[in-house]
Symmetry: C2
Subunit: 438 residues, 2 copies
């Protein structure tokens, strides 16, 4: 392959989809050559000159490497939009995140970020509800939403499941969510679980006077999912949840097509993402994946916690939050800029090993526009689920009432402990799990 | 989390789905503890004891760590089948390949293999056609099938596309395949491409007297794909191709549900797999993914080349071939055993930088039951596509006529060059690209 794509004077246009890659060439391959290979294999090239490629249509489709930083391994490539079927996420990923990972010329390769131009963004609908729509449904204007995942992850019979959900709501949770590996198993069949849990929801709403949400996991083969959505709708459900990575882009697009028509809010769980995102030199960043889910329009998305049982540094988690909530994201050293042209913000969901003691630090990093999901942190409370749910709401209340820097809560461990003196459930959870500061 | 799952005396039963993991604990975490964490998070556990988990149903669902090799980082876990919705691949992966990759307790984690028990295998249908069905359609009994991918990958107008396809068939290709990033773009709309290319196919069949196959890429949102399948069927197409990784498991299951009814053969391209499979310490092996595709039933699957432009050592590629073609695969040091209970063999497809010069070595490694796809190796021939297609068929003929060890061709570079003396197209390609031996 000849040096066909390198053009450091090239200025990306409004017809380009730009990508930022980290590239580590294989031994004996120059950085420039590896970058050329990646650019060709992700667009119009192959390993040799072909006689079939000629004419003006090929010139129009040629991508340009418009930036290279060999020391940092960074390359920016502008791809003409015409290369893509613009609303077909699978096709786009088969190009810019496809064969290239398997090429001998590279040792490691990571898609760090991409920028969709305005005309591509506008082909997508984004979230139907997002933060404003969800806050309106729940009638909660300012504080983080408080949720739990029914635990154990799997194993509860459906009546037990509904009972634990009821206790979670009554204790103060806004949201109850199935876990990512609970769908339709014999010990807890989907249809019975939904019917029973929605009844528990009615009861909890009457008892508390608050709006309550249940997010049943509909993850399955596509047409089965559509049937499950219809079933949820028939039982007055307002939400569904899906495992976006293990489903795949195509099915997620199908779910969102139907959820829009049915007026269902869609929560995106990201199980398996770290198989792709965790290695800092290879794969795809969570940032890039999160952008795709905002474009195609999930209303909520797991973004990590920066505290708790899952990996993910605070800076990275906050940068994903910015990407899915701001209307304009500036370029910085490891990301490109993106304008969202009015697409609604996705509600960032923080989940993974959280308990009340984490909440001051979590809200300091993530602010108030988040959904806080605590599973073990609720059901592992020494006094059980109701007390666990209370402890999380109390921690949120404490932080909301505490000091702020502008809009960002600054509540410290001390203030939380102070608040806990008069709030038993919070006090007990702090005694059991401790409080958290960095 | 207490040590709940370790039970080295446990013998897996016919009700267990067994997994083989490579685990690298994070600093300060013992191997045993990391293994416990992985086992719990992939099934019934979370980071703390919960009060909701009790009773006999939980005991029945408890997985067992039945083997550990700390030095090699290997762990075998038996999961009771009741944990899963057995035909829901997304749900299974959300369990055994889900949240676990993102846990702080592990540094690296790789799902190396898994074994489905008989009763789970029998819930799946496997390929409708597979090797025997495809050989019957093509009326080619013994030699490898010869295919090409239209090149350049994208950029040709649809009439050019059909012309290049025609030349490929006339030159001797059995199969013509779209590339993974060509679906429905403005420069080459899906409907026009299929109509025009199927006409070219008719013409090529009449001219050669051979059965010819076109594999149009239908990769898209699920319902759009079903429409594209219907369109292909209406134009007398027999095959479709899909990008299985960028689509995702759910959509692939949907495609296969419909392809069975429509009697369409399904080719699986694996673009993006190496984002998951390439790092030897993290992610998922191609072996494990290949098993899933055989279960759900793609008829063909890219398995690598062991030669050519893509990464993947010969031993690994051959082991994937065994997995998708044998009826019983024995356990070895980095894989588990698997019985396939009569599920048809998937046709292994070798593709990625191949030309005629690679074919002796390729067939020595992979045998005769393969599809050989050469893209640049056909269209990059100095005399163009027809000559390129001829050169590949000639190389296959040379190897088939050459020495064998049992059923495995043993043709060397010397025999190939000998054959090339009387076969111009082969001779020219060897002069241009060289011949290949390890």
């Amino acid at each position: 392959m000849t040096s066909e794509y390198l053009d450091l004077n090239y200025k990306p246009t409004k017809n380009d989809l730009n990508c930022l890659f980290y590239i580590e060439p294989s031994r004996g391959v120059s950085f420039e050559k590896a970058a050329e290979h990646v650019t060709g294999e992700s667009s119009i090239g192959t390993w040799t000159e072909v006689h079939t490629a000629s004419g003006s249509s090929m010139r129009k489709l040629r991508p340009s490497i418009y930036h290279m930083n060999k020391n940092k391994g960074l390359v920016k490539v502008a791809y003409p939009l015409e290369l893509f079927e613009p609303e077909n996420v699978s096709q786009i990923m088969s190009s810019i995140a496809g064969n290239i990972y398997g090429m001998k010329a590279i040792q490691n390769l990571r898609l760090l970020d991409f920028t969709f131009p305005e005309k591509a963004v506008k082909l997508y609908q984004g979230p139907k509800f997002g933060i404003p729509g969800i806050r309106k449904i729940l009638k909660v204007k300012n504080r983080p939403l408080v949720g739990t995942i029914i635990k154990p992850k799997v194993g509860l019979p459906y009546k037990e499941h509904a009972r634990v959900a009821f206790e979670s709501w009554v204790g103060g949770c806004d949201i109850v969510k199935d876990d990512e590996n609970l769908t339709d198993q014999k010990f807890n069949p989907f249809d019975k679980r939904i019917a029973e849990t929605m009844q528990a929801l009615d009861k909890a709403e009457r008892k508390t006077g608050e709006v309550k949400i249940y997010m049943p996991n509909i993850t399955a083969e596509t047409e089965e999912m559509v049937e499950r959505m219809e079933y949820v709708k028939k039982h007055n459900g307002k939400y569904v949840m899906i495992d976006v990575i293990t489903l795949g882009f195509s099915a997620v697009q199908t779910v969102l097509k139907h959820s829009r028509k049915m007026n269902l809010v869609v929560h995106a769980h990201r199980a398996m993402h770290a198989a792709l995102t965790r290695n800092k030199k290879h794969g795809i960043t969570m940032l890039a994946l999160a952008k795709l889910y905002r474009l195609i329009g999930t209303d909520q998305l797991h973004v990590g916690t920066a505290v708790g049982k899952m990996e993910g540094p605070a800076r990275e988690v906050a940068s994903i939050r910015d990407e899915i909530t701001l209307d304009s994201v500036p370029e910085s050293k490891d990301r490109l800029s993106q304008k969202w042209h009015g697409l609604k913000p996705v509600f960032p969901v923080c989940s993974g090993g959280l308990h009340a003691g984490h909440i001051p630090e979590l809200m300091k990093i993530m602010g108030k526009n988040i959904v806080i999901q605590a599973g073990g942190g609720v059901h592992g409370h020494p006094d059980g689920t109701i007390a666990g749910a209370k402890s999380v709401r109390q921690a949120v209340d404490a932080v909301m009432a505490g000091p702020h820097n502008g809009d960002v809560p600054q509540c410290g461990t001390k203030t939380l402990k102070e608040y806990a003196r008069t709030h038993n459930e919070l006090r007990k959870v702090l005694e059991t799990f401790g409080s958290y500061s960095r």
